[in-house]
């Protein structure tokens, strides 16, 4: 049952050391504010799951929060590589990170299987792909009806999923619009779900009957954080801050520059800064 609370409380009561955590968003609606709160609370030993770990996972890995990363594409979209992740994988800084790498199709299927309460996902994939040789969680099953060999991966069942969405209504139902990505499956696959939203409205009157709505009883906690996806975007609210993604490349290239940036922009701040960060991007949406 969704309870409205501060972001700090939503994170502290749902994310614990050693958890398997998904902060999902497929380019759109990435829960940056929630991740920054997790960084401030100094959680450790996390298994971080996400199809497209971009700069927010780069930040969490660089801050030493992750024991393991489960992913299918680790890049800075439109810019290039994730330099903190690379430093962890190639040089073990600040400590080594175990990686479990999949394809998008595999992870999308694995989240869906998690939401469906299944132990594994079955799909047609990984044919001839080297990932199947380096990731022991990529296996195969034979179709009992046709004999076709199909790929199988374990379902994803996070301890906690964090997402950002446009709206909640007063009851705590959550509305997601635009590129909806994997968020619904990531929430339903998780034991606990925390949602940050742009705003709270009275009800969802006038919303299309087939809209992507997560009923209030599928969510543990809701925190209102306007701008909480920045530098990602919120369809209908503000545009993507492409400049920040570009600037991240230089910040993340250097350990000292990274550490200083994190102190100034994350550790010494709170969730209230996000509204200001998107002010100029609202007109450009």
């Amino acid at each position: 049952m969704a309870t409205f609370m501060s972001l700090a409380e939503a994170v502290s009561s749902n994310l614990f050391d050693g958890d398997t955590a998904a902060f999902e968003g497929f380019t759109h609606l990435i829960p940056h504010a929630a991740a920054h709160e997790a960084i401030r609370q100094g959680r450790r030993d996390l298994t971080l799951v996400r199809m497209t770990p971009d700069i927010v996972y780069d930040q969490m890995i660089g801050m030493g929060m992750a024991r393991k990363l489960v992913f299918s594409y680790a890049g800075n979209p439109g810019v290039g590589l994730l330099r903190r992740l690379r430093d962890a994988v190639e040089n073990g800084w600040p400590h080594p990170v175990e990686i479990e790498e999949h394809s998008h199709a595999a992870m999308a299927n694995a989240y869906e299987a998690g939401a469906a309460g299944l132990p594994c996902a079955v799909f047609r994939g990984y044919k001839g792909a080297s990932l199947a040789r380096v990731n022991p969680n990529i296996r195969s099953v034979t179709c009992p009806f046709t004999g076709e060999e199909l790929a199988a991966v374990p379902s994803i069942r996070p301890d906690v999923t964090f997402i950002h969405a446009q709206k909640a209504n007063r009851r705590g139902d959550v509305l997601i619009e635009g590129i909806i990505g994997i968020q619904k499956e990531a929430v339903l696959a998780a034991r606990r779900a925390v949602v940050t939203v742009e705003e709270v409205v009275e009800d969802f009157a006038g919303v299309h009957p087939n809209a992507c709505v997560l009923p209030h009883w599928t969510v543990k906690a809701i925190a209102v954080v306007p701008g909480g996806a920045h530098p990602s975007y919120a369809h209908g609210y503000y545009a993507r801050d492409n400049r920040s993604y570009l600037e991240w490349d230089a910040i993340a290239a250097d350990r000292e520059a990274f550490t200083a940036w994190m102190k100034q922009n994350v550790l010494d701040k709170d969730a209230d800064v996000f509204a200001g960060r998107v002010a100029a991007l609202r007109a450009a949406r």
């Binding site: 759109h28 680790a74 590589l81 998008h104 001839g128 990932l131 990505g181 994997i182 992507c212 400049r243």
Partner: protein, 259 residues
Amino acid sequence: MTGFTSDEMMTIAAARALKNDDVCFVGIGAPSAACNVARLTHAPDITLIYESGTIGTAPEVLPLSIGDGELCETAVTTVSVPEMFRYWLQGGRISVGFLGAAQLDRFGNINTTVIGDYHQPKVRLPGGGGAPEIASSCGEIFITMKQSKRGLVDKIDFFTSFGHGEGGHARERLGLRTKGPTLLITDLAIWKPDPETKEFTVTSLHPGVTREAVQETCGWQVRFAAGLTETPAPTALELDTLRALKARTAAAHGGQEVA
């Protein structure tokens, strides 16, 4: 028509390969420019699909990422990521997958995962994303990339996406029923797989390009087709369309280069 760059020739040659009735899964970067030039010239009804779930999108500017808002705003419909990969890609509804590559071998196998050993990589690249299943589930695969000895290599370090394996009937042996890579468009030439060996063979050189230039920027011994032709130079319409698209993109993204 004179005065075009090799990059422009590559994008335009790639755009020409797409048909008006294609349903095309678009990779980010060079493929995205080519697919949108096709849509804005000879293939106005082409269905462009990005892996963020946007089906039938028609962006005014090139997206910086596969999930830019404009892709959704101009799409016929936007579906969830599991639906994208299950119903539309795995379901066999996509005729062409258009991919780029960090490393490519002569049989169209692609590496975008690591340079060096997987467990002790020299360079950790972003990884495959949607590519492994795009490569196996789309009707056929077009690849576009600039030529260099670092890019076109004798042996790739990791099979992110399977092309024709070691050549010949490798796809059939794996149970793949799709065609795999059927076309490679670089900044210097158009390549097609040999019908028997499946090795990429140069079938057309772009205007002004020599065989030597193609060989110097390729890590394997290049084969040239018997009936080698010259790629027609870009038309004024093609060039104007591409340049206007790039200019709109630069203006919209504050001068930020599209990767």
